[in-house]
């Protein structure tokens, strides 16, 4: 079975986070809103209503295109794609069939492979239907939300690579700031085209639509590859069709065959003039783009982090940005910050923290305090959480540590005074003697006494060293 080659192309719909919809001036954010409360007469497709293009969506498109190293087409146009469904008020979707705004490009995946982008076009989303027993309800809040549909070339050859591509696409869109990126809310939805073949010629493909988690993408590809190989091995033919994925069943099922495919009767959209951009505008947008995951990767490569650790951080643009800023301040102090991010901040219980709160300056200072043994690593984590918990970011890490009474006593003079006191105390005489006689286990008791006397501020390692020096 291993001689089959898998070929995958992926279409991804990204909902843009513009303030208003693509062709009307109503709120584009329908999360937690009453059904049909974010609907203008244009979205409702009243007679005589005309679409008015939202220019902010164009800028988001340019940003998304640049993030994928795509050519930006200076002239693009809209077309109408016709079909009847109650969630499509006009009876057509305004999309870009012939002249999309985003041209060819390429995405570099973390494993070093490249996936080429065929094109990406701007279009409007449809509404949502909820089915009940004998009736269905229509919610048009989402109708008219701007979407870009990103079409990849069939450059993907495994389920793992498919997942990696989708994850990287998600990162790129987040970095470009064009989407809220909430997969659960359907901000990004994926259609996977899968085929298998033993020869150079591609096999018949199926399209599995509307996947909305990275895990389901990987599972659906695995399932489809297995299913198609089984069909071919038993002498059958794969049918070209649209399939749906059931997460619960872990299966794809047939939805619509090629013969039943609709004729969308595409037509140029006469109500929206062509979008004509100046190169200087594209250049201006390019200059405003932030650092992209690839650039961060090459920088973080210097920190000797685990691959999974740096990729986890890269999933959060704000954390990547902070880590990079710490690198720029003092690269030696950065790995510790990276560990804090991946080990502490990204743990389940801290997902609700506002990751933007701590500044690079504070994080660098905190790392430096540990470096200088002014703070134990446990103490540092406590300060770190405080930084992200409260909005008291005006305070320095040092001030916070002091306020939390976590500063370690590293002044050897002051420590020596305490140690002398401990060593001469009658209750410690036996332990001191034991250490003098080479029974090093007893040193723990002495260190503990010093810690107690210093009210926890002494650095235990330093105390340990000092006691050893004194008794040997």
């Amino acid at each position: 079975m291993s001689e089959y080659k898998t070929t995958i192309g992926i279409e991804c719909h990204v909902q843009l986070n513009t303030a208003t919809k693509l062709f009307s001036a109503v709120d584009n954010d329908a999360v937690d809103k009453e059904p049909n409360s974010c609907v203008s007469p244009i979205d409702y497709a009243l007679p005589g209503m005309l679409p008015v293009l939202n220019k902010a969506a164009i800028e988001k498109c340019v940003r998304a295109g640049l993030a994928m190293n795509c050519k930006i087409n200076l002239t693009s146009r809209f077309d109408r794609k016709h079909y009847y469904y109650p969630d499509l008020p006009k009876g057509y979707q305004i999309t870009q069939m012939y002249q999309p705004i985003i041209g060819a490009g390429v995405i570099h995946l973390p494993d070093g492979s490249d996936v080429h982008i065929e094109h990406a076009h701007l279009e409007e989303d449809a509404g949502k239907l909820t089915h009940f027993g004998t009736y269905s309800l229509v919610d048009l809040n989402r109708a008219g939300t701007p979407l870009i549909e990103i079409v990849s070339m069939p450059d993907i050859h495994s389920a793992a690579q498919a997942r990696a591509y989708c994850e990287e696409l998600h990162r790129l869109m987040m970095y470009a700031g064009v989407t809220n990126g909430d997969l659960y809310q359907g901000n990004m939805r994926f259609d996977i085209n899968v085929s298998v073949s033993k020869t150079e010629e591609l096999g018949t493909r199926t399209e599995t639509k509307n996947l909305n988690s990275f895990r389901s993408i990987e599972r659906a590809v695995e399932y489809e590859v297995k299913r198609q190989i089984e069909i071919l091995e038993s002498g059958g033919k794969v049918k070209q069709e649209t399939r749906g994925w059931s997460d619960a069943a872990g299966k794809t099922t047939s939805q619509r065959s090629k013969e039943e495919a609709q004729d969308y009767r595409y037509m140029p959209e006469p109500d929206v003039p062509p979008v004509v951009l100046e190169q200087s505008y594209v250049d201006k947008v390019a200059a405003s783009m932030p650092m992209m995951p690839d650039e961060y990767r090459s920088k973080f490569g210097l920190l000797n982090l685990d691959h999974s650790e740096s990729e986890a951080i890269l999933n959060y643009p704000i954390l990547a940005k902070r880590l990079n800023e710490v690198c720029d301040r003092n690269i030696k102090l950065a790995p510790r910050v990276a560990h804090w991010f991946s080990g502490v901040l990204l743990s389940e219980e801290n997902q609700d923290k506002n990751f933007a709160l701590a500044t690079a300056e504070e994080l660098t200072e905190l790392s430096e305090m540990v470096e200088k043994k002014e703070l134990s690593s446990t103490g540092a984590k406590a300060v770190l959480m405080e930084m992200y918990d409260k909005k008291n970011t005006a305070k320095t890490a040092h001030a916070l540590a002091k306020e939390m009474n976590l500063l370690q006593e590293n002044d050897e003079g002051a420590l020596e005074a305490i140690i002398n006191e401990v060593l001469t105390a009658p209750e410690c005489a036996k332990a001191a003697d034991d250490v003098r006689n080479g029974e090093m286990k007893a040193i723990g008791f002495l260190v503990g006494q010093v810690m107690k006397k210093s009210k926890g501020k002494a650095n235990p390692a330093t105390v340990n060293e000092l006691i050893k020096k004194k008794l040997q």
């Binding site: 007469p41 007679p47 209503m49 005309l50 004729d263 969308y264 009767r265």
Partner: protein
């Protein structure tokens, strides 16, 4: 234009119009009347005048509104069962601008359902009648508007023109009708027919009134991305032709054109010559393809624009529905007139996969050639002249069973529509049977006022 002032009460103007509308009720110019609201508005204007406040340029002027314009006053039907009883929550930009200048809508004028037709015989509510000959059609699709102006019920009326829907009824009823440059007046709030050629224009009894109404409606509208910056800014007398050269389109003077129509155009040309214009006949062979281009592009856009009438959100919905398919098929079967369905079928056919290139794409290429031919002609001439339609108004039922004959009505009016050019219909002659015959003046984009200026010059000349 008779406008309300200290001596003329708006209420009297409106009352007079309403009385005339009643007097000519048989002509069925209107689908619904706006009596109470019109009188209220008239009183408001009279009070303003009495208080010495400023009133608009159309203060108290009653007008008829083609019933495909949305307005919060009353219901908009587009003369289709599909929109029977549709109270619009918005008012179209054109209507809002007129009302801001004090114009008063007294009723909704009849039309062919969804503006599909050349006779108003496709109205769900029954046809209107020609103002000159009751047994004949008023033309269409803006037949009710044209007839209402010609009967003297109102001083002006609004129409919409996709392929001749203002010019042809103007010609049939002997009134002035302006189809402006594409994008002159906002299409916002007007039931769409074919978006790439739909324009909003008006009917009136003389050149000045056309110019005044159009100057008010013209201008950029952020709600319609295809509108142009307002170019309707000159005094009419300042919009004189520079070259004083006119081309008479020879291709529309030959076979299939009524001899009375040919004579009217030749007489008009002679009158122009007499009044200082250089007049030549020009051959434009591409004109004969205009109709074929139009009856591919227009139904395609019609089919698309009518997709929204699905019985889900507003308008008519069939009662005996069983599933989603029947919501669509029964609703649309009941809601649309046969001519609407014919265009939906043609439109979907020319857009369907496998036929798109052969029909729609080819038509768009031919459309470009048509535009080029006009551009070439306008290098030499200020304006082109031809008839509006091949013959004067026809009798009811004469063409209803032959859709192709009906489409031939549009042969002279659709070419400027496909090119987005301004075209003015002005009364020019009378047939042997006493029926009005109009002349059509076509100019380069945004030369609208110049066309009115030329037609006015000729109308006033001996």
């Amino acid at each position: 234009m008779k406008i309300a002032d200290k001596n003329t009460k708006a209420v009297d103007l409106v009352r007079e119009a309403l009385e005339k509308a009643k007097e000519y009720e048989d002509y069925h110019c209107f689908i619904s009347m706006n009596e109470a609201r019109a009188l209220d508005r008239a009183r408001e204007i009279d009070e303003k005048i009495a208080r010495g406040e400023k009133v608009g340029r159309l203060a108290g002027v009653p007008y008829a509104l083609k019933d495909n314009y949305l307005s919060r006053e009353g219901v908009t039907t587009a003369a289709a069962r599909m929109l029977d009883n549709f109270p619009s929550p918005i008012t179209s930009t054109a209507v809002a601008k007129l009302e801001a200048e004090g114009a008063i809508m007294i009723g909704r004028a009849n039309l062919d359902a969804y503006a599909h037709g050349s006779s108003t015989e496709n109205s769900y509510f029954g046809p209107s009648h020609n103002a000159v000959d009751f047994d004949r059609v008023p033309g269409g699709s803006s037949g009710g508007s044209a007839s209402a102006v010609a009967l003297g019920i109102v001083q002006f009326a609004l129409g919409s023109d996709t392929g001749g829907s203002i010019r042809q009824p103007a010609s049939y009823n002997g009134v002035w009708g302006m189809k402006p440059t594409y994008g002159t007046v906002s299409r916002y709030g007007v039931v769409a027919m074919a978006s790439s050629t739909d324009v909003m224009g008006c009917f009136a009894n003389n050149a000045e009134d056309v110019d005044l109404v159009m100057s008010i409606m013209a201008g950029k509208d952020p709600k319609d991305s295809t509108t142009l910056d307002n170019f309707w800014t000159r005094e009419l007398e300042d919009a004189k032709p520079k070259k004083k050269k006119i081309g008479i389109i020879k291709d529309f003077l030959g076979d299939g054109v009524d001899p009375d129509v040919v004579k009217t155009i030749r007489d008009y040309a002679a009158k122009m010559k007499k009044n200082g214009f250089e007049v030549e006949e020009i051959e434009m062979p591409i004109m004969k393809y205009g109709l074929a281009i139009y009856y591919i592009v227009q139904p395609a856009e019609v089919a698309s624009n009518l997709s929204r009438y699905d019985g889900i959100r507003y308008g008519h919905r069939a009662s005996d529905i069983t599933d989603l398919d029947s919501v669509y098929s029964k609703t649309r079967d009941e809601g649309f007139m046969p001519e609407n369905k014919r265009r939906i079928m043609i439109g979907n056919f020319v857009l369907s996969s496998g036929f798109f290139d052969a029909y729609y794409l080819k038509a768009q290429k031919a459309r470009t050639l048509l535009i080029n031919a006009y551009n070439e002609a306008f290098e030499k001439y200020d304006a082109l002249v031809c008839a509006v339609a091949p013959a004067p108004a026809f009798k009811f039922g004469e063409k209803t069973n032959d859709p192709l004959q009906m489409y031939m009505e549009d042969v002279m009016s659709v070419p400027p529509s496909m090119a987005g050019l301004p075209a003015l219909a002005a009364p020019a002659g009378i047939s042997k049977d006493g029926l009005p015959i109009g002349v059509q003046l076509i100019g380069p984009r945004q030369s609208d006022q110049m066309l009115i200026n030329i037609a006015k010059t000729i109308a006033e000349a001996k």
